[in-house]
């Protein structure tokens, strides 16, 4: 596993690394996230900064997908904030009402900011989740592709006169 230290040398790089971790944790099923974390040999001690909680976000759409914004409806979200001994504060927001899922997102967010944890997180958590996501996405995409219509046109020609 190559090191990700260089990628996070800049503020921009670190932000991208955090966004990737957030996306992978949030888009993976809570039980899949829990099981990859459970397989980790050791994890940082965590200190919760506030009770993890469930609330709502208002989902917005755009007219025609790209025009004026409008409010579509709400989505429950769990959130958590915690600190690890190495210093960084991790924040987690995931769709759904699973506080454990949000705490794991916060833990990943803290770990990706800590040099001692970043590579271990990548190897133990993010890489397997990315593989799982890609597989599920490809699976759905292949089912959809199987229902693609192949049009054919009956070319009617008159026989030679």
């Amino acid at each position: 596993m190559e090191s990700h230290q260089e990628d996070v040398a800049t503020t921009e790089g670190l932000r991208l690394a955090r966004q990737r971790a957030h996306a992978l944790i949030a888009k993976s099923p809570a039980d899949a996230v829990r099981s990859v974390f459970d397989l980790m040999e050791n994890l940082p001690e965590v200190e919760r900064l506030r009770p993890s909680e469930v609330g709502l976000v208002l989902v917005r759409g755009r007219v025609g997908g790209e025009g004026e914004r409008f409010n579509l409806g709400e989505l429950p979200v769990a959130r958590a904030a915690l600190r690890i001994p190495e210093g960084p504060v991790g924040v987690g927001y995931v769709a759904g009402r699973n506080r454990d899922h949000a705490e794991l997102a916060a833990l990943a967010d803290a770990m990706v900011q800590a040099d001692v944890w970043r590579d271990r997180l990548e190897e133990g958590v993010l890489a397997p989740l990315a593989a799982g996501l890609a597989e599920r996405k490809a699976d759905t995409g292949r089912k959809a592709a199987a229902t693609k219509v192949d049009f054919f046109t009956m070319v009617r020609t008159r026989g030679e006169k």
Binding site: Q19, G55, V63, G65, L75
Partner: protein, 375 residues
């Protein structure tokens, strides 16, 4: 007149609720439905409850359907009530439907739409014959998989014809545009902007919108629509938490989107072109998305200089009556005690009758004697 409080009925109510619980469970010798079963096997009912309940939570919607004995409107009410118990963290970035991972994508207007016609899991083309195999444990359905997945981003019908300006171009929003209207925080106001109308339609009753759309198609507010594009699939939801200050992806949701195309004959300012009606719903619900798109287009009649003489074009009529929680509440509140109203009306009608008889007697004394004899 003062209100008179009437107490009583607590025991009757409590017992009625217990009987309701027994009824909900049904025959105790039949295994009980689980919320998981409803969520996965009644998924289209779940999708409808999520959209009209205005809360994307399949598990809660399934629970609501179970508790409501399958009464979808009642389940929507339960979800709406639950929603009010949670605080709001904020609003998401707008979802990007052009980037949807499509499970289904069809255009009825343009056969050769780039990316192709992807039928997805649809009831269309089924024969609507009851499948008695499902009386027992049904055959396990297995989807066929192609070797390669569909392309990641399907171009939208609007983008395909963008170079010709034959189709209405959706104006991009400026950065200083005001926050979209939020019906959950602000009361209905008229004239309504398209943002307010679309939010109301998205939460609106599927049946009401379907009937309005149907009426519009049949001539009561003609829109002559063609289905430009329907797509259903997963979109990513992005949110910017205050603590972070940058957007993060917080999950994926399934949505259905519909672009309806209608002719516009042009005006002094605009050349003739096709105009769009837009529909967007949580979950897989094409009937709702299509109806919403037709009604959205009908409500835009002023923009294209059409006469607004039909119900579907009247935004006050449509928006005030599309919410089934409000509609159901107002219709069904009539079965709660109205004893005092009735008492007042009774006295009033009695007095009117008495005056009517007296007037008749005064005019024709014989009729009065006849009435008394009959008594």
């Amino acid at each position: 007149m003062a209100y008179v409080s009437v107490k009583g009925g607590e025991r009757a109510i409590s017992n009625a609720h217990q009987w309701l619980d027994e009824m909900r469970r049904g025959d105790a010798s039949v295994p009980e439905l689980t919320v998981e079963q409803i969520r996965h096997q009644m998924s289209l009912a779940v999708d409808r409850v999520m959209m009209e309940g205005s809360c994307y939570d399949p598990e809660l919607a399934a629970l609501a359907i179970k508790q409501a004995r399958g009464d979808v409107t009642e389940a929507i009410f339960l979800v709406r009530a639950y929603r009010t118990t949670l605080q709001r963290f904020g609003a998401t970035e707008p979802i990007k439907t052009p980037e949807m991972a499509v499970q289904r994508r069809v255009s009825a207007a343009f056969k050769d739409i780039p990316g192709g016609q992807i039928l997805g899991p649809t009831f269309d083309y089924t024969h609507r014959l009851l499948n008695f195999d499902l009386c027992d444990a049904g055959p396990a359905g297995v989807a066929v998989k192609a070797t390669e997945p569909v392309v990641e981003k399907m171009p939208t019908i609007a983008s395909v014809f963008a170079h010709e300006s034959l189709l209405e171009q959706t104006a991009a929003e400026s950065d200083d545009a005001p926050e979209p209207y939020d019906l959950t925080r602000e009361p209905m106001a008229f004239p309504a902007g398209r943002d307010q109308r679309l939010q109301a339609l998205a939460r609106g009753d599927e049946g009401f919108l379907l009937s309005l759309a149907y009426a519009s198609q049949r001539g009561w507010g003609s829109t002559h629509p063609l289905c430009g594009e329907i797509r259903m699939g997963d979109v990513t939801v992005e949110f910017t938490p205050e603590e972070l200050g940058f957007p993060i992806e917080i999950g994926e949701i399934v949505v259905t989107e519909c672009q309806m195309i209608s002719n516009f004959e042009g005006s002094a300012d605009k050349p003739p072109q096709f105009t769009f009606g837009y529909g967007l719903t949580f979950g897989h619900n094409e009937r709702k998305a299509m109806s919403m798109a037709i009604v959205d287009r009908a409500l835009r009649h002023k923009e294209v200089g059409e006469n607004g003489v039909h119900a579907v074009q009247d935004e006050e009529f449509v928006l005030y009556h599309s919410d089934n929680v409000e509609a159901s509440g107002f219709v069904q509140h009539l079965k709660l005690p109205h004893y005092v109203d009735f008492q007042a009306q009774l006295q009033f009608v009695r007095r009117l009758c008495k005056e009517w008889r007296e007037a008749r007697e005064a005019a024709t004394p014989d009729a009065g004697e006849f009435a008394e004899a009959a008594e």
